[in-house]
Symmetry: C2
Subunit: 108 residues, 2 copies
């Protein structure tokens, strides 16, 4: 059995342009759809909903409908999703370092 490339598995499951940002925000605990939407205004509604559905299908997040009126739906990391903690923390730390270095270059 040919061993699949681990990096390809990672990028196809949690990678891409928007999924790391969604997963990273859910590290702080369950979030309602509206909160996620406001936290990532650069993602269109259609794209956000698609990624949430894919992440749920991949078993990384759980969608809970609280059955209330008006409807209350939230998303949270599953146990499998929480194993991404070290990756997401390392990515955000790298991005913050990159931003600081960039700000320095711009004399901010």
């Amino acid at each position: 059995m040919e061993i699949p490339c681990p990096m390809r598995i990672a990028t196809e499951t949690m990678g891409g342009r928007w999924r790391p940002g969604i997963l990273w925000r859910l590290m702080d605990g369950p979030m309602r759809y509206g909160e996620l939407r406001r936290g990532m205004p650069w993602i269109s509604e259609k794209i956000l909903i698609r990624h949430l559905r894919d992440l749920e299908a991949a078993g990384l997040i759980l969608r809970t409908d609280h059955g209330t009126q008006p409807p209350q739906v939230d998303y949270r990391l599953t146990e499998a999703g929480q194993t991404l903690g070290p990756v997401l923390t390392a990515m955000a730390a790298w991005g913050a370092g990159r931003s600081a270095a960039g700000a320095e270059r711009l004399g901010a």
Copy 2:
């Protein structure tokens, strides 16, 4: 000055579907274009060349033309690129764990 989202900076610089795989392979040292191409046959030539150019423009990799005939060109991580080590290692480890868990489920 509004603080940009660190995760967005990370995903827009080193994220996406193919860049982590390119960067991860260059962690072992300089590679020639042909080696990179053979190591990631699932990426088209056109896409690989575009990502290599973008990663070079982002200062994460360095392209060296050794000025020989036939032409010899290789790519290596820059110092900035090497700071991605912890992120890439964590991603690959997560992907390997996911693959093993998947293999177990399939009874491989």
